[in-house]
C-alpha cells in the first residue's frame, strides 16, 4: 500500500522564501539569513527525499542564499564617515533579495485579488449573439421601375432556357473543355489585361464543368508560378495577376 505525504507546494523559490519568512514571523527587511537559509535547504532536502524533481530555479536561489550568508559572515569594514548609514545599506548583501521579495509579494497579493474577481465573474452569464444571415450585397432598389424589372426577368428566363439541357447519366460524357483549353484561354486573357477577376472568366450560363475546369486551371497556373492570386476576404472574388 502506498501512502502520500502532503508537501506544501510553492510557485517558486520566492514564494517558498516568503512562506518561510512569514512562518518565522520576521521582518522582511531584516531577514535572519542563516535561519532562513537552513529552512530553505531543509525544504529542498525534503523534496529530494520524496523523489520530487527540484526545479533549477530553486537551486539558483539556494546558491544565492548561501552566497548572501557567506557575505554576511565576513566582518564589516569600519566606516567612519558621515554617510555610514547609507553605505551600510549599500553593503548589506540582502538588499537585492529583499527588493525582489517585496516586489514579488506585491504581485502575489494582486494575483489573490484577481482570483476573487475571477471567481465572481464566473458567476455571470452573457447571452450568445443572435445568428444573423447577412445578405451578400445591398441591392439598390430605389431607382428601379417596372420596365427594367421586366427586362431583367426576360434575360434571366432566356438564359435559363439555354442552359437547361438534361444531363445524361447513362453514359459518361466527354469533358466539354479540356484543361489545356482552359489554361490557354486564361493565359490569353491575362496577356491582354494583365489582371482579371475569377468571376470574370465565365458568365451565368457557364456550366458547372466549365467553372470547375477554370478553377483547376487557376490552381495549375499558380503551381507553375505563372499567376498570383489575391483574395481580400473569405468568399470575395479572387483576383488573378500575371507574374
Amino acid at each position: 500500500m502506498d501512502y502520500k505525504i502532503v508537501l506544501e507546494t510553492f510557485e517558486g523559490p520566492l514564494d517558498l522564501l516568503l512562506h518561510l519568512i512569514e512562518k518565522a514571523k520576521v521582518d522582511i527587511y531584516d531577514i535572519p539569513i542563516s535561519d532562513i537559509t537552513d529552512q530553505y535547504m531543509e525544504y529542498l532536502n525534503n523534496m529530494k527525499e520524496l523523489d520530487l524533481e527540484i526545479a533549477s530555479d530553486f537551486l539558483v536561489m539556494a546558491s544565492t542564499l548561501l552566497e548572501i550568508k557567506s557575505k554576511m559572515l565576513l566582518p564589516a569594514k569600519n566606516i567612519e564617515n558621515e554617510d555610514r548609514q547609507l553605505e551600510m545599506e549599500e553593503i548589506d548583501p540582502r538588499i537585492e533579495l529583499v527588493r525582489r521579495l517585496v516586489e514579488y509579494k506585491k504581485y502575489k497579493k494582486v494575483a489573490e485579488e484577481l482570483k476573487i474577481q475571477e471567481i465572481n465573474q464566473n458567476k455571470v452569464f452573457y447571452k450568445p449573439k443572435e445568428e444573423f444571415t447577412y445578405t451578400k450585397e445591398d441591392i439598390e432598389l430605389q431607382n428601379l421601375n417596372v420596365d427594367e424589372l421586366v427586362k431583367v426577368l426576360n434575360t434571366v428566363l432566356s438564359k435559363k432556357n439555354k442552359k437547361s439541357k438534361p444531363i445524361n447519366i447513362d453514359e459518361i460524357q466527354r469533358e466539354e473543355i479540356t484543361l489545356e483549353e482552359c489554361i490557354n484561354r486564361i493565359k490569353n486573357e491575362l496577356n491582354e489585361k494583365g489582371k482579371i477577376l475569377f468571376s470574370g472568366l465565365f458568365d451565368e450560363n457557364s456550366s458547372r464543368s466549365e467553372i470547375i475546369g477554370t478553377f483547376l486551371s487557376i490552381l495549375e497556373l499558380t503551381k507553375s508560378k505563372y499567376i498570383k492570386l489575391r483574395q481580400e476576404k473569405n468568399f470575395s472574388d479572387i483576383v488573378i495577376i500575371k507574374i
Partner: protein, 184 residues
Amino acid sequence: MIEEVPFMDKKEIKAIIEALLFMWGDPLNLKDISSILEMDEKEVRSIIDEMIDEFNYERRGIKIIQIEDSYQMSTRSEHFEWIKKLYNPKSNKTLSSAALETLSIVAYNQPITKNEIEMIRGVRCDKALDTLLEKEIIEERGRLERTGRPIIYGTTKEFLKCFGLTSLEDLPSLEEFEVDIEEE
C-alpha cells in the same frame, strides 16, 4: 435630411439601446450604437451611463457592463445561486496561481517580455504564458528591437471581461499592496 429623422425622446433611445444590446449579445461598440442612432457619441455615452445606473438602482436581473468603449448585457453574480438551479456549469475552471501571478505582472507592466516576468517571479513562466495566450487573456504585442528581439506581451479585452474590469485603470493600484507589506 434631419427633418426626416423622427424625434425620439430619451426613453425611446434607451429602449432602442436596450434592444440593440440584447440582440447583439457580444460587447457592442459605442461608435456603432451612436451611428445607428445617428447621435453624438458623447450624448449616447451619457445616456448609457444613465441606463447603467437605472439598471442597478432598480435592481434589475440584467446589468449593462462596460468594457473599454463597448457595452454588453450580463446577469448579476449575486443571482448565480438561482441560475445554478436551472443550469449548473460543469466546472468553473479558474486560472492556476502561476497563471494568475504571471497575469498580474503583465497587467501592471505591459508591454513586458517573458524574461522580465521571470525576473519578478523567480521561476520560468512558459506554461503560464501559454495558458494565458490560449485563453486570449494576454496577447503578443510585437517584439522589442534589441538583442534577441524578445516578444512583448499585453492584456486583452477578454482579460477585462474575465475579471469584471471596465478598463486597465480599474485595476487596484499597486501602492495599495505595498503599504500592506510595510505594515506587517
